[in-house]
Amino acid sequence: MTFEAPIYLLALVLAAVPAGLYLSRYLKSRREMFPAAVFLYSRDMTPLRRLRGRQIGVAFLRMAIAILLALAFAGPMTGDPKIGGAYGSGERIVLVLDRSASMSAQGDSRAGTLFGDAVQLALEIVEENPAARFSVRVCPASGPARSTWLGADRARDELESLEHGFGRCRLHRNVRTTLAKLPAPAKLYVFSDLAESGPEGAALADLAREAAAVRLVPVGEPGAADRGNLSLSGVAVRGGSVTAVVENPGLLAGKVVVTVQCGDWSGEVEAELDPAQVSVVLPLPAEGSFSGTCHAFLPEDVLALDNSVAFDVRSGEKPQVLIVDGNPSGVHAGGPAYFISNAIRAAGDDYTVVRLAAPEFSYARLASAGVLVLVDPLPMPRYLEQAVRDFVTKGGRLWLLAGSNVATWKPENALLSGVQLRECVTVPEHPFRIEWIDKGAPSIAPLAALPMSQVGSWTSTRHTAASIGESGGRDVSASEFAPVVSPQTQSVLARFSDGVPAFSLLRLGSGEVAIWALAPDDTNGNFAIHPLFPVQVAATVRGLLPPMRRVSAPPECVVGARCKVAQPGEKRKLFEAATPAGSRRAIAGQSGEVHCAAPGAYHTMEGATRHLAFNCVVPASERVLVRTEPADHASPAEASQSPPPLPRKTRYGASLLAAAMVLLFLDLWLVTRRVSAER
């Protein structure tokens, strides 16, 4: 018998306490002259001998309780020859096959995968020991462990019927548990690719060193790591683009091609491999052309299970650009609205462009407009100004082209409240040129890419300057006009040669206003007919429009581990995945957790729509294919020597604790009984 924590045996000295108490208090009764002794006389007196016996009994009871508690905490263990199942004659051999995900890597040509190789090696051992009794176990187990010892024929059948799984296996724990229940003498063969690098692999090697009965049989050829393994460890969405992480545990050099498949559309991206890992921005189909689940793939390599991930791409509605011409007759050719709509269509973006004359604006449905373009509008009725302001402050996008009509707006207007506007006019011989550009602003990027000499050829003869209103109504020069509101809410993208902002962006509530300080018409220099005009129009509209495409990466679950992907109320929710081995299912339990047994993308049905729910991935420890043999590895031939007796464990701690509790209750019952005495 051995003890798990022999230090607790020191507590056995506590057993002396009840004995000491008995000897000091009860063994020899003290005499006392007591005047009130008459009150101690009782009719139901117990004979003194019985009283003594009871006291001795209580003392022994308490000693037993102390001994049992000390032993229970010390944790005695002993062997149990029955463990392991029915006994028979012959040598005992336990075959433990690693069935973790990494065992599905390509192995020798004999059986395809490493797991197939392991089964072949196990069969060889069965053939070599026809008289032995076998116990076949896999890790992770496919069901309750069988406790029956099998003959060679049945063991062979059992091995051949084994199927590879994709679970997660703590091999050294599994082996240690099996070892503890083994009858001696027996041998235990472990067939593994030793893919569990780090602590798991080290623990397995330690176990083989500790117990001579354990034999590690490596599966796969040493040096197979040269073939390397790449894995996609997940996808992340950053600013509308999708990034995938390619891990390179095999330390391969060169380039890798990542393929993205979105329905019929496919795209590829090439990336330089890094010894550790590399992030790759994945190509995506054009906006609006695809909506559904996309898969990213790596080329076929040693372990195919970790080569794909999935993500969702959803397309929004086609945006609408609503152009309102401030001039009642401006819808005709040559007017600003004409030039604006032509420029938007020429950009090739698939927007819906609606043109309205100013009188029709009050009937327009602003909520459906992605971008509202007000082209040099005349002063509007108060309610209309307020409606436009509300549209913007609630998140709408407005593009205001402020020409000579806007210059007539009063400072009391609701849209640009408190702003004084005035028109600046020059002669055609000395037009206004764009002289300064904020090169960091994305909305002006097409101009920023050009030299200023080319940008300076884009001229106008009229524009509108704006002031916050400090001038108090007096006539101020154009250079005194300042940004409309403040640098915190307004950013100037470009300025004319007289210093007036040409293009600026203004945040209003949760919406945005792009202001052009001029109206493009055929009389305003070459502004409307310059080649840069449609370029900047398209950039402005694109900058204002919200993205049409939404990309989302699903949560990740690890094979064999529980993963919370459903809400607690969504018990019995079904998730399905299509894997090479067929369709796999995962069902959410009471707490909303699922247990995915095979890697891949799992979908769920929400109403009639199929949604990507989560990616089930191979754990990181399984992605690394280590092919290094332990230094102390012993071959199966060497293992034929008689193994030393194995530790056999049956724990008695709980039983002893229960017995101590029973005695404790007995003691409590005894000591609460009434007085016993003898005259």
């Binding site: 000091s24 208090r25 009860y26 063994l27 020899k28 009764s29 003290r30 005499r31 006392e32 002259m33 007591f34 005047p35 009130a36 002794a37 008459v38 009150f39 101690l40 006389y41 009782s42 003194l48 009283l51 006291q55 000591v671 009984r673 009434r674 007085v675 016993s676 005495a677 003898e678 005259r679």
Partner: protein
């Protein structure tokens, strides 16, 4: 020499007065109300004149109004005869661990305190002591201050260790002492009994009833060791014994062996029942009953008693 009454105790007792609720019958002037009318400043009642009455007490105003002779009578204040009955049995010699005085020593100090208190107010104090079934000694009541010295000397003799017999004398009978007082036809006096009352109550209370009927003020002082019964709430010091104990009665010699921890609860219940019985009997006879633990200061006990029994409105 055992000091029974030190100057500090005398100082604390100096301001105390003990007024009996009963009328006392004495020859000398004192502080207690007398059953007989007498001469004092406190008017008592009118009485129709009869020959022989003192003409000085004729109420002439009443004669003028009623045309009849009435004499005024006044309350008489007299001294009291106080008989102290001390139980000097072996059971009174018990002193538990942690207690300074035995029950007898405590009673002796209480006797000294009572004697001092009564003698200071001009009462006559006498002492009887009983042990076993015999009356040890009787000191007749005297009101002379030297009586205090006499009583203390006598009490010292009683509590001296050599005075205690080695053998058990059988149960004490206080009835012997009370019978002695009855035989002396004590009336309108005070009888104070100091005892642990570990005896047959049936023989005690008939004599107390007789004395009470004779107009005597009877006061039973029950002296208890804290180990016997702690009078404090909860009684934490009651029966503090541990382990197997052989208890023997000092008076009867009978013994009992018990597991102390197991016996404690039953013992407390029985002692409480005894106290309840004692109080019931005392209340039935309208006899004053007080309990005190031996670790209490005798003067404190007196003060507590006087406060608890002060006349209404005082």
């Amino acid at each position: 020499m055992t000091v029974l009454l030190d100057p500090e105790m005398e100082r604390r007792l100096a301001g105390l007065r003990f007024h009996f609720v009963h009328s006392m019958d004495g020859r000398l002037t004192g502080v207690h109300r007398s059953a007989q009318p007498g001469i004092s400043v406190e008017f008592s009642e009118h009485k129709e004149y009869s020959p022989g009455d003192d003409l000085r007490h004729l109420d002439w105003r009443a004669y003028a109004r009623l045309d009849r002779f009435y004499v005024r009578q006044f309350t008489k204040e007299t001294h009291a005869n106080v008989h102290l009955l001390l139980d000097a049995s072996r059971s009174m010699g018990y002193r538990s661990e942690g207690t300074k005085l035995s029950k007898l020593e405590f009673s002796a100090r209480l006797v000294a305190v009572l004697s001092y208190l009564f003698l200071r107010q001009n009462d006559a104090v006498g002492l009887l002591s009983v042990r076993g079934k015999s009356l040890l000694r009787y000191l007749p009541t005297r009101s002379h201050p030297s009586q205090l010295v006499t009583i203390q000397d006598y009490v010292r003799e009683v509590i001296a260790p050599e005075a205690s017999p080695d053998e058990a004398e059988g149960p004490t009978s206080l009835a012997e002492g009370l019978e002695f007082l009855v035989s002396r036809r004590v009336t309108r006096s005070a009888v104070v009994v100091l005892s642990d009352f570990q005896m047959d109550m049936e023989s005690l209370f008939p004599y107390l009833a007789y004395l009470h009927t004779g107009g005597n003020y009877c006061w039973l002082i029950h002296v208890v060791d804290p180990a016997e019964y702690d009078l404090e709430p909860g009684g934490p010091r009651t029966f503090p014994f541990v382990g197997t104990m052989q208890f023997r009665s000092p008076e009867t010699g009978h013994g009992v062996t018990v597991d102390s921890r197991l016996a404690r609860q039953d013992y407390i219940a029985r002692f409480a029942s005894f106290l309840k019985d004692l109080r019931g009997r005392a209340a039935e006879l309208s006899v004053e009953l007080s309990h005190c633990n031996t670790d209490e200061d005798p003067v404190d006990f007196m003060i507590r008693f006087l406060i608890d029994n002060r006349p209404a409105g005082e």
